[in-house]
Every structure is written in structure tokens, then in C-alpha cells.
Amino acid sequence: MNEPMKSDLVVQTRGLTKRYGDRTAVDAVSMTVRRGEVYGFLGPNGAGKTTTLRMLLGLVRPTSGTATVLGRSAGDQQVTERVGSLIEGPGFFPYLSGRDNLLVMARYRGLPTSVVDDALVRVDLGGRGDDRFKGYSLGMKQRLGVAAALMGDPELIVLDEPTNGLDPAGMQDMRALVVSLARGGQTVVLSSHLLAEVQEICDRVGVIDDGRLLRESTVAELRGETSLRVRAVQVDRALAVSMRVAGDDGVHVDGDAVLLDLPATAAPDLTRALVADGIDVLEVSAVERSLEEVFFEMTTTQEVA
């Protein structure tokens, strides 16, 4: 029973740490990525996302801790050829066309020439493949980087801020592409500072700030239970009833509204209690916390602590 569980982990790090002099860029990060999921690596700029991903790819050696990718030590040749990646901006030869750049990478990977055109089409660069890389817009460069990561259908695809520099339509296409990769059975690890993006496409999320992995869970778990929001003409009396229903600690005042830590299914009982008390109810609604709220809550509490 243990064996299949183990092979289902595409990435596993234990206490992964990277120090540059006095500065700890990545501090004891232990993360796990499961096969076939889209894992979102979420954190503000400079939180340590890229350094962690570099260690997963063997570009940077950890100061301490271990990173296991596809069952082997990160950076092992037999691992790198099964991983596609785009790390901190696309690195290509400016004088070569997009197609020739991919052709160089295909030769390195020992792949047939045909994969190049397929990859270009998948990122919508089919018509611009013969233009020189240096003439590409930021968004096109980014898409070429993703194309290189897709070639040869690697088991794991690591994308560092894949929607950087893309316009809204390009971002939407990129998200759709990532989701389709996961549907096809490939595992995707992507980093982002865009919460909406992670919320939309990721199965699980690792939240990193100041080099530390603060939390790792599904998006739904992270957002937690929904809460109920009540607005009434008699705010004080509504607050009193709410405290009776949800307990003293389960109630917060948010402007002229009262928030209760109760699931949406508690709405009928709450409404009955309010009405029975003669309160003029203006609104009872279920509120879902956005990832953004959770995120800021998490990163600011860290700062205070």
C-alpha cells in the first residue's frame, strides 16, 4: 500500500534551505506535489518561490535539506529529461527564430524535429515561428518558454510565473493550457503572485512568504468554511441574537454588518431566530472568503509574530 503512495508523489522536499551569506532565501521548505495535480506556489515577490523551483530543477544546490523529484534526487540527469521548465523568464538565443530555438532544445533532448511545430501551435506561435526571438513581444517570449517546457510531453512541468507579460486574453489561454495539461495526466507546478490565477486553476497550493512555507493544502481547505453575513436595521439586537446562535467567539462586526462563523446551511435557523426576535432583517447571505483574504491574513500575522 505504501509503494503506490510513494510513486504518487512527484515532488517531495524535506527541510529544503538555501542561504546566501546571511540571508536565508528559502527556509526549511517541506512540500509535496502529487501526480496529475496542478500545484500552485503562491507568494509575494522575493518570497523564495523561484529559488525553491531552481533547487527542484538542480540549477541551485540547497544549503541543507533534500529535494526528490520523480523518485530521484533533484537535478539527476534521469530526472531533468522527464521535466519541462520555464524558470524566471525565458532564456533563448536572440538571433535565432522561435522555431530554431526550440530546435536547439529538441536536439538537446534528443527529440524529433516534429515536436517543435506541435509545441509552437500549442502556445499560438504557429504563425510567428520563423521570426527572430529578439523581435518577439514579452508575451510571445513567455509563450515560447512555455512551448519549450512542453516539448516531449514531460511528466512534470515547472512554470515560474507563466502568465508574466501576457495580456488578459493570453493569460486566459495560458490558464486553459495548464488545466488541459493536467487533464492529460501531466503534473504542473506553477508559481504565481496572482491569487485569482491560483484560485482558478490549482488543485493544491503552497503559500510561501519570507522563505518559509506557511501552509500547504487544497484551495478549498485554505479558504476554509464559508461564513454568514447579516445586515439588519437594529444592529445591536442582531449582534446579540447572532452571539446566541454562533457563540461569542463566532461573531465579528464588519462595518454595519455582522459576520458569523457558520456554514451556509445555518442560514434558515439564523433567519428564524432574528425574525422571532422582531428584528427587521435586510440581508442574510453566505460569504466565501477569497484566497486573497486568506493570504493577506496569513502573511500579515506572520509579520506581527
Binding site: Q77, I87, G91, Y95, R107, R109
Partner: protein, 285 residues
């Protein structure tokens, strides 16, 4: 073992593709061929025709001048240009091949494709060596064409050099150019960029070694130092291959042919090792 050879074959193919489509590579190779033709044949032929003695031909009789332009002298002409002009240009080639990839982020991309860093650097060095060999071959073909044309124009018999002389000349020229190309590659790797490595490399090859050789005539320890330097070794190796003395810049007689050959060979082995060790140890950011 087989997988290593296969990885190097892959990286070499990739590197050959990106180098042969790179205009900067052809500009460098083209500059060498243009200079080689000018200093090897054009100026010599012009002074032979006009009777003026120029910078390149000072103090030679007309007959000696013509002899140098004949096919039989190809080995001499081929090696003479390598210690300084050719070496400097090949160093530029090596430095841009290694150095530009750091700024462009292409080493980062290539190191994540599968082949190990060692395979990648070795593939890059093999591709660089192919360009050095192609440069020597192209120069040889051009020299053969130009010198036989001069011989025919001047109604002389076309006498080709002995095969032994020719192979020594081609071997010496290739080795000297390769050493400088590898020096450029090592410098580009150390400096992680083309600008500093090209600048420092050229100042070293064109200025500092010459100055040190001058100082060495007065100071023993400096002279000992100059004897293990790459430029001195290359210049001495070329000198030992020439059939007649020359005052071509960069050609020196500081070392015996054998000692010079050993020194150049040591550099040719040590420089790529430095590059490989550095690339393996470093974090790529």
C-alpha cells in the same frame, strides 16, 4: 558510458546548430580570413609588383618575397598569422560562445534539458573545435587558390609543399588557434559574460605578454614567468615550424619547439577542465 556519449552527441548537435546560425560567429571567422588574405598574400604581392617595401615585407629581396607567395610556402603563411591575429579572433569566438549564454539565460535553459552540465559544456567545446578546424580548412583552401593563382600569373611552376610540412603547418595552426579559442571559452565562463572576458583576454594576448617579454629581458623571474605563458608558447611553437626566420608579430623564439608544443598541449587540456569544473560547481541564476 553510452548514455554519456549519446548526451554529448545531442548537445554537440544543438550547439552546432546555434553556432552556425549565429552571425557573430561568421563575422569573427570572416575577419580572420580577410586578415589572413591581406597579410598573407595581398600586401606581399602588392609590394612585389610595385617594388615598395611595406610594413609586412621590410628588407626582403624581390625573389624572397615571391617565394613566400608560392604554393610551396603555404605551411609558413598558415602558421605565421595564428599566434597573434588568429589567436585573438579565436579567443573572441570562444568568449562569446561561453559568455553570452549567461546574460541571455540560455545556459539555464540548456542545463534543464536533460544532458548533464558536463555533457553540455563538452558539446559546446566540441562544436567550438569544429569551427576552429573549419576555419583552418577554409584558410588552407583559400591559400591554395590564391597562391597557385599568383604562381600562374607570374609564370612560375605550381609546386605544392611536401605533405609532411603541410601537415605540421596545419597541425600547428589548428593547435594554436584551438588553445586561444579554449582560453576564450574559459574566460567567458569565469567572467559569465562576453564583454569583460573579450576585453581582458585581448589586452592579455596583444599587450601584456609582449610587455612582460620586454621586461623579462631585464628581470630573470619575469622571464621565467613569460616562458610558461600561452602567447609565448604559441609564438615559439609557430617559430619552430617556420622554414625561414620571420619578424611577424607574436612569433618568438623563447622556447624550443618541443617545450612549446608541450606547453600549448597543457593549456589545451587544462583550459576546458577549468570551464567544466566551474560550470559543475556553480549555482545557475
Amino acid at each position: 558510458m553510452n548514455t554519456t556519449i549519446e548526451s554529448v552527441a545531442r548537445t554537440t548537435r544543438g550547439e552546432l546548430l546555434r553556432m552556425r546560425t549565429w552571425p557573430a560567429v561568421w563575422v569573427t571567422v570572416g575577419a580572420w580570413i580577410a586578415l589572413a588574405l591581406m597579410f598573407g598574400y595581398l600586401f606581399g604581392y602588392l609590394s612585389y609588383k610595385t617594388g615598395d617595401s611595406s610594413f609586412a615585407t621590410e628588407g626582403q629581396t624581390k625573389q624572397a618575397l615571391l617565394a613566400e607567395l608560392m604554393p610551396a610556402s603555404i605551411p609558413d603563411v598558415l602558421v605565421q598569422g595564428t599566434p597573434m591575429f588568429g589567436g585573438a579572433l579565436m579567443m573572441v569566438l570562444g568568449a562569446i560562445v561561453a559568455g553570452n549564454g549567461f546574460g541571455w539565460g540560455t545556459w539555464k535553459t540548456l542545463f534543464t534539458q536533460g544532458p548533464s552540465r558536463t555533457s553540455t559544456v563538452v558539446g559546446s567545446l566540441v562544436a567550438l573545435t569544429v569551427f576552429v578546424v573549419v576555419t583552418v580548412a577554409a584558410t588552407l583552401v583559400l591559400y591554395a587558390g590564391v597562391s597557385s593563382l599568383i604562381a600562374v600569373t607570374e609564370s612560375r611552376d605550381v609546386v605544392w609543399p611536401a605533405i609532411g610540412d603541410l601537415s605540421r603547418g596545419v597541425g600547428g595552426a589548428t593547435l594554436v588557434l584551438e588553445m586561444w579559442a579554449l582560453a576564450g571559452f574559459a574566460l567567458g565562463t569565469i567572467a559569465r559574460g562576453p564583454a569583460l572576458s573579450v576585453g581582458l583576454g585581448l589586452v592579455w594576448a596583444l599587450v601584456i605578454e609582449n610587455l612582460l617579454r620586454g621586461v623579462g629581458e631585464l628581470l630573470g623571474p619575469v622571464e621565467a614567468l613569460t616562458k610558461i605563458m600561452p602567447g609565448t608558447a604559441a609564438g615559439s611553437l609557430v617559430n619552430s615550424l617556420l622554414s625561414m626566420p620571420t619578424d611577424t608579430p607574436g612569433v618568438v623564439d623563447a622556447l624550443s619547439g618541443q617545450r612549446a608544443l608541450v606547453t600549448v598541449a597543457v593549456y589545451t587540456i587544462a583550459l576546458p577542465l577549468i570551464a567544466v569544473v566551474l560550470v559543475r560547481r556553480r549555482d545557475i541564476s
